[in-house]
């Protein structure tokens, strides 16, 4: 929504370990099996270990990014103080990957103010086989490094949406072509001097490199670069550049069956109902199907409820990740972490097995980082969620019966209803959307982070009171939650115990939009 702050660059609250990363790579690969998954890492000490994890996590490409790049829109602290030279990170990455025999299945790319053929040749010798150029390519088409990319005032029309300013763009594709032609030409010159026939022959060949003693500085006398130029002693069976692809194990995915069963819906938009058992080794369920829906039907997906999937059992991680509009997942049982990650539409309903003897609302039904970065759809969870529920949500409507810490962090849109206790630090950095929390012990205010939000007690006269009741009724309908039944039975009293979490900024934007709509109406009638 225009006017609501986004936190940029986004913190990746779905990645707290290398396993999280592997999971994200797997999710993305499911979403689009034809795409190469790339992980970009900042060059710093220890980056080799992370890169090894990335390779093990089945990414197709790892980018080692140097410290002196950075988009003009990024905060000055990031531009100035993040990372180290790409040379250092790249050398470490190459050595680590080769020593662990992980190099052969991943492409290593580097970037960070690469300019000349010399940069490319050195990068190749240190272990890169791909190179990214951003600033220099922009400069060839007229970028003058204004560092105003975030203000929409780029005076040469490179980074702006403003029509008048875009008119000033004087760049031509030929300028970029020219630059890269010269670059390639010079690379050939340098390769000829070295006596190599192709760049592949140069990858990781650090024996061609030596530190130039002539550029020594008194401050550098304690520095030893020799470790950067080490070529790991490995046998011929160990690849030092990428020679094969990654095996993601996608062929074992339950989604293949799902896609087959959903064929009438995918092809002819016919309603289908699919019943399947699920177990916790079925990770990223529904994602490949969603990718197919998006591929065939675009952004709008399918009409609501076209594919109705009814599951029993325990779902693995990333259940319903990147779910597309038109797909409803109904699960009797429970789910793990990352349910509905990046979900774009559809519905996810999860309730405990009918034979469960515990109180639903006192027990976890889904894991951590649920609905992370969701942009649309609905979710109903008849039980508690873990930490970081609905972080960076920008459009989903979700009902849950309790959350862990950091709920609704960095949320920019959507509506979240919590029919129970939240953890601490609720709504930190929340700039948009609404949250409704049933505050039974009147202590919610102490668990909420009030820096960016107002807390308001609900009353029967509120505009959204009726809507709230409807959604809770729908929650009951979907999950048969006893908790929802209780609340609805005593609605008048329960309503006043709800606290509305209303971000300051969101209020300002909504007020402005209402005023603008009013003015427009008057202009038409007046």
């Amino acid at each position: 929504m225009p006017g609501v702050t986004l936190i940029s660059p986004p913190p990746h609250h779905d990645i707290y370990s290398i396993e999280d990363m592997a999971q994200l790579i797997f999710d993305l690969k499911n979403c689009n099996p034809a795409a190469d998954i790339t992980v970009k890492l900042v060059s710093e000490v220890g980056v080799g270990t992370v890169a090894a994890g990335v390779s093990k996590g089945h990414a197709e490409r790892v980018i080692i990014s140097g410290y002196d790049g950075g988009t003009g829109a990024s905060p000055i602290s990031s531009i100035k103080h993040a990372g180290m030279p790409w040379e250092i990170g790249l050398a470490e990455t190459q050595q680590t990957l080769v020593l662990n025999d992980l190099r052969g299945r991943i492409i290593v790319q580097t970037d960070g103010q690469l300019r000349t053929a010399r940069d490319v040749i050195i990068a190749t010798m240190l272990g890169a086989e791909e190179y990214a150029f951003a600033t220099v390519a922009l400069v060839t088409v007229g970028c003058i490094m204004m560092r105003k990319c975030h203000l929409n005032t780029c005076p040469v029309g490179v980074a702006t949406q403003d029509a008048a300013l875009r008119g000033k763009f004087a760049g031509k594709p030929e300028h970029v072509v020219n630059y890269f032609t010269f670059l390639a030409e010079e690379i050939r010159v340098l390769m000829a001097e070295l006596g190599v026939r192709s760049l592949e022959e140069l990858v990781g060949q650090t024996q061609y490199l030596a530190m130039d003693d002539a550029i020594k500085h008194w401050k550098s006398k304690g520095l030893d670069y020799s470790k950067m130029l080490v070529k790991p002693a490995v046998g011929p069976e160990v690849a030092i550049r990428r020679i094969q692809g990654q095996d993601h194990g996608l062929d074992k995915q339950l989604d293949h069956k799902l896609i087959n069963l959903a064929a009438p819906a995918l092809e002819r938009k016919e309603k289908v109902t699919i019943e399947l058992p699920i177990k916790n080794s079925n990770r990223t369920f529904g994602t490949m199907l969603s990718g197919m829906v998006a591929k065939l039907h675009g952004r709008e997906g399918l009409p609501e409820g076209t594919i109705d999937v009814r599951l029993t059992g325990i779902a693995g991680q990333s259940f319903g990740a990147f779910l597309a509009p038109g797909v409803n997942l109904y699960l009797e049982g429970e789910a793990n972490d990352y349910v509905g990650k990046g979900m774009a539409g559809g519905r996810i309903s999860i309730r405990p097995d009918a034979t469960a003897t515990f109180a639903w609302h006192e027990n976890s039904i889904v894991g951590n980082t649920v609905l992370y970065g969701a942009t649309g759809g609905e979710a109903f969870f008849a039980g508690k969620a873990g930490e970081r529920f609905c972080v960076r949500n920008s459009g989903v409507t979700a009902v849950v019966e309790g959350t862990g810490d950091h709920g609704c962090e960095y949320m920019t849109g959507g509506r979240v209803i919590v029919l129970g206790r939240t953890g601490r630090n609720f709504a930190a950095g929340m700039s948009g959307g609404f949250a409704y929390v049933l505050d039974e012990d009147s202590r919610f205010r102490r668990r909420c982070n009030p820096a960016m939000v107002d807390l308001e007690q609900m009353s029967a006269t509120d505009e959204d009171a009726e809507w709230l009741k409807q959604i809770i009724a729908k929650h009951y309908e979907e999950t048969a939650s006893p908790r929802a039944a209780e609340i609805l039975a005593d609605w008048e009293n329960q309503l006043t115990r709800f606290v509305r979490v209303f971000p300051h900024e969101y209020r300002r934007v909504l007020t402005e939009m209402a005023a603008a709509a009013e003015a427009k109406k008057e202009a038409i009638h007046g």
């Binding site: 490094m145 204004m146 560092r147 105003k148 005032t153 005076p155 040469v156 403003d162 004087a170």
Partner: protein, 492 residues
């Protein structure tokens, strides 16, 4: 950059001089500055670029985006501080600088540039009005002494910097007032002489000693200076004018620009000995005369404006080169100095009064009778081969009874430096070490036009500041605390 979209909202307004018919009537300063509010609006056009090319265009590395913003916010005193941080004499450059900063202004890529020079002069005008600019004598003295030969902008900037570092500075000036070309070269209408004197008085108040009418090499021997002072700085300018050695050159009525211009400047002071700076003590006045000015640069322009104000019956200006393009040529891209047609105030006056600038023209001989010049003969030249080729049949006779030669300067006057026995470069300028600015003689330095050849006031100040830092390091044997001039500036 108070207003990120200012450059899209406002257009450039840079009419800062009076209309021709008003200004041509007298020799007084011809500026007509906009109001404070208008200047603030203009300052809103600065985009505070991530890479401020204006600063690299400026030989002083002026903190342009910073004070543009302060002007926009009306924080004039802070703006003045920021301006003085890199520029000793903004009241001079704010009036007479051709503003290379504006040529490299990022907005200039596709829009009229920011009015940087207008902001500069507005800040310093405000500073003097409010009495913020006062003498800043050093708190303590180092006990070292420095002699500066020449009181032009390079010498004065060097003097102020060294004096602030605590050294005792003496400026040797061969004429009776300090300022060099600022005082006697540039006409009053472009830079009011009281403004030069005001600054010289401030320098004197700060503790700088001035020895007037004291030419080193004539009135005082160089050896004496070398003996007496811990360091000596040449800032004696590039005074040797380029001559036109064609037939009839020795006729009466043919003068170098710098024989002519000082007389009017002295007249504006009310001096009676106007001809004192003329080698033959002749009085020159253009009143009632047909004037031909040879040379289309700044000096030529000053000769035109002065002649018109004196009441010349006609003025014609000759330029050997072709007319520059109105817009940048392909081989002259931003952010280089733009080699485009610039109509100076004087040429604007000339054209308004029916005069003209003749391009691609060469004078082949002077014509005279009874020892006095009555005209000259010219021929058109063709530059298409890269060298001037005379065009056959284009000869023309022009009537003239005053011819002013303004064809540039070759270098320092040799007699001024011969005593010092400094090495010179092939262009007859004083040779110095690029970093230490020291000449081949230990303890003797050089700055300004005598080192780099004829150039701008802003370069003179830049040179003066840089040599001061070098002299300070030489005198103290320690890294100088005086600010370093940003030398990564584009060398056009």
């Amino acid at each position: 950059m108070g207003d990120p979209r200012g450059f899209m909202k406002y257009s450039r307004q840079d009419k800062t001089i009076q209309p021709v018919e008003q200004r041509i009537k007298n020799h007084d300063e011809h500026y007509n500055y906009p109001t404070e509010e208008e200047v603030k609006t203009q300052a809103a056009r600065c985009m505070d670029c991530g890479v401020p090319f204006c600063m690299t265009g400026c030989p002083l590395g002026n903190l342009i985006p910073e004070w543009n913003d302060l002007v926009y916010r009306g924080q004039w005193k802070q703006a003045l501080q920021a301006l003085h941080a890199t520029n000793n004499f903004p009241e001079f450059t704010g009036r007479v600088c051709p503003a290379p900063c504006e040529a490299s202004c990022v907005l200039g890529i596709n829009e009229p540039q920011v009015t940087i020079k207008l902001h500069e002069v507005s800040i310093v005008n405000k500073g003097f009005e409010e009495g913020w600019i006062v003498a800043q004598p050093p708190k303590s003295r180092s006990g070292k002494t420095v002699a500066i030969i020449g009181g032009g902008p390079a010498g004065l900037a060097c003097a102020q910097q060294l004096n602030r570092a605590g050294h005792k500075v003496t400026v040797y000036e061969k004429s009776d007032r300090a300022g060099g070309l600022l005082m006697y070269g540039i006409p009053h209408y472009k830079l009011r002489k009281e403004k030069v004197q005001r600054r010289v008085d401030l320098l004197a108040e700060e503790g700088i000693e001035f020895r007037y009418s004291c030419e080193v090499g004539k009135d005082v021997a160089f050896a004496e200076l070398k003996e007496q002072y811990d360091a000596v700085v040449f800032a004696s300018g590039a005074e040797e004018p380029r001559d036109l050695p064609v037939a009839g050159r020795d006729l009466d009525g043919i003068h170098f620009a710098m024989e002519f211009l000082p007389q009017q400047n002295r007249a504006n002071w009310g001096d009676s000995d106007l001809a004192v700076l003329h080698p033959k003590q002749q009085l020159i006045n253009a009143e009632g005369k047909k004037v031909i000015v040879i040379g289309g640069g700044d000096t030529g322009s000053d000769c035109i404006g002065t002649s018109l104000r004196q009441g010349a019956t006609s003025v014609v200006n000759f330029e050997l080169l072709g007319q520059p393009p109105v817009e940048r040529a392909e081989n002259n891209p931003w952010p280089q100095w733009s080699r485009i047609l610039r109509i100076s105030s004087s040429v604007e006056e000339l054209e308004a009064l029916g005069g003209d600038v003749e391009y691609e023209i060469m004078t082949t001989r002077f014509i005279g009778s009874e020892g006095k010049v009555t005209g000259l003969e010219t021929v058109k030249v063709d530059w298409s081969t890269g060298k001037p080729e005379k065009v056959a049949g284009s000869e023309k006779i022009w009537e003239a009874d005053l011819v002013l030669l303004a064809m540039g300067y070759l270098g320092p006057r040799p007699q001024a430096i011969s005593q010092a026995a400094c090495e010179t470069d092939p262009r007859s300028n004083i040779k110095t070490d690029a970093k230490t600015r020291m000449t081949s003689v230990e303890g003797v330095f050089a700055a300004g036009d005598c080192r780099r050849g004829q150039s701008l006031v802003v370069w003179a100040i830049s040179e003066g500041r840089e040599v001061a830092r070098c002299v300070d390091e030489y005198l103290t044997g320690k890294p100088s605390l005086l600010p370093k001039v940003r030398l990564e500036t584009f060398q056009y």
